[in-house]
Amino acid sequence: MNTVINRNTAMRASVAMMALVIVAGCSDSNNDSSDNGTTPVTQTYEITVSNLSSNQPFSPLAVVLHDESYQGWSIGASATIGLEQLSESGDNTPFLAEATDANVLAVASGDGVVAPGTSGSIELDINASSDVQLTVATMLVNTNDAFAGNGGLDLSSLELGDELMIRLPIYDAGTEGNNELAGTIPGPADGGEGFNSDRDDVDVVSRHPGVVSNGDGYIDSVLEQSHRFDSPIAKLVVRRVN
């Protein structure tokens, strides 16, 4: 069984990044917490997602801080109902409820749509923990069931003031065929249906193949050329602020 989460690799990348930060001259290793020998009671992370697409507004961000026991999705596995709803309608409520039920560290929703060319930020507090991972998901609303995201980004080695940046790929929830037909896409390109519990596609999560659009010869598509996208589609910056 494959897994999206790979702690060792993420840890390795984080350690390498930290080493660079140190060499760059930020080697003042003392902060308040280490001076008095205690660890902070809370850890606070600022999570910012920038929409790099042409014309794919992002639904309100779903943000989950968790340990290694949680996984929002996995390539080749069926999407949960929560992920299906997020990916088809943009409603992240059930997805975050599933995470809460899994006893994650914290969940949060962005307060609105993140338009192309803009960013959305969320701050989350958790009790001090040495096993912290981040999962982020947001629907590309002018699609049938595409979402941008990252599963299980390891934040354990992120110290106060540190930040890390990754770019987000696009996944396909596999729960709704990418027919691009009028009435099937909830975003402003169509104003069509969001969630539908029927699963008429491959029913496993994969990377998204992209949309075709009527600008590329698919005359029945309600999407036009501006709705096309390539990978990566978003920039994710995580900053530890406490």
């Binding site: 069984m1 494959n2 790979n6 060792n8 690799t9 390795r12 350690v15 930290m18 080493a19 140190i22 060499v23 080697s27 290793s29 390539i75 080749g76 080695s157 110290e159 790929p169 696009i170 396909d172 596999g174 065929g177 990418n178 027919n179 691009e180 491959v202 496993v204 999560v205 994969s206 990377r207 998204h208 193949p209 992209g210 075709v212 590329d216 010869g217 698919y218 029945d220 390539d230 990978s231």
Partner: protein
């Protein structure tokens, strides 16, 4: 943690300076990330630093062409073995379906220092997923690599599924998903860049009994990367 990081950094020059490449045992997991593209039998090859299964910007070898147009890795196996490579052939025992994984376990690389992976993308004319000469780390650990889709540059991407698998025969050998069309007129008969290059993707169409392409534009396109490789150095 900071102390550890500095130690790690300072140790790096010594690792790179080491003149002896120790034999490594590695596990290699390959995941097909796509929603609608199959991989033909994969070749996972550990070889020396000067061996290349392919190079972007260079013409494909006849062995690479056979893999990219028909999924036949036998030529690459023979050619690399003659250079001392250690190969794992066809770990998935056939096609690697969309969104599935396969694993090569305990590959003893011997004196070989670099890893390459290739497998044809179906349905395409001469597309393949490729890793070219990734240096196997000395340190034990788990490493993740993402692979792009390449075009061998040896065949025009006409996108007609006609069984054309032999090198030089125009056409796509098969559409394993059976979810395309037939009777198309063909997208093109020329190949502009005849060196190995990043694949532009399938065009496809939505006409099941005609149109320009026998593949479906909604299903048989992809965005890079097409594969995820997790290498565990033991």
């Amino acid at each position: 943690m900071k102390t550890k990081s500095i130690l790690l950094l300072s140790a790096l020059p010594f690792l790179f300076a080491s003149p002896f490449a120790a034999a490594q045992t590695v596990d290699v997991e390959v995941t097909n990330l796509t929603q609608g593209i199959f991989f033909t039998p994969l070749l996972v090859s550990a070889h020396d630093s000067s061996t290349h299964l392919f190079e972007a910007g260079q013409s494909a070898t006849t062995e690479l062409q056979a893999m990219a147009e028909g999924g036949d890795i036998s030529g690459l196996v023979t050619a690399t073995a003659a250079l001392g490579a250690v190969n794992s052939e066809n770990p998935a025992s056939g096609l690697l379906a969309p969104s599935t994984s396969t694993q090569v376990s305990d590959l003893d690389t011997g004196s070989n220092t670099h890893l390459s992976i290739v497998g044809m993308l179906l349905p395409t004319n001469d597309g393949f997923a490729g890793l070219n000469g990734w240096e196997i780390p000395q340190d034990a650990g788990t490493y993740t690599i993402y692979l792009n889709g390449y075009d061998a540059g040896t065949e025009a991407n006409n996108e007609l599924v006609n069984g054309g698998a032999a090198p030089g025969v125009l056409g796509i050998p098969a559409n394993p998903g059976g979810n395309g069309g037939t009777g198309a007129s063909g997208v093109t008969t020329t190949e502009t860049n005849q060196t190995v290059h990043i694949h532009r993707g399938n065009v496809g169409d939505t006409d099941v009994s005609g149109g320009v392409s026998d593949v479906d534009s909604r299903i048989h396109r992809w965005l890079n990367p097409v594969a995820k490789v997790v290498v565990t150095v033991k």
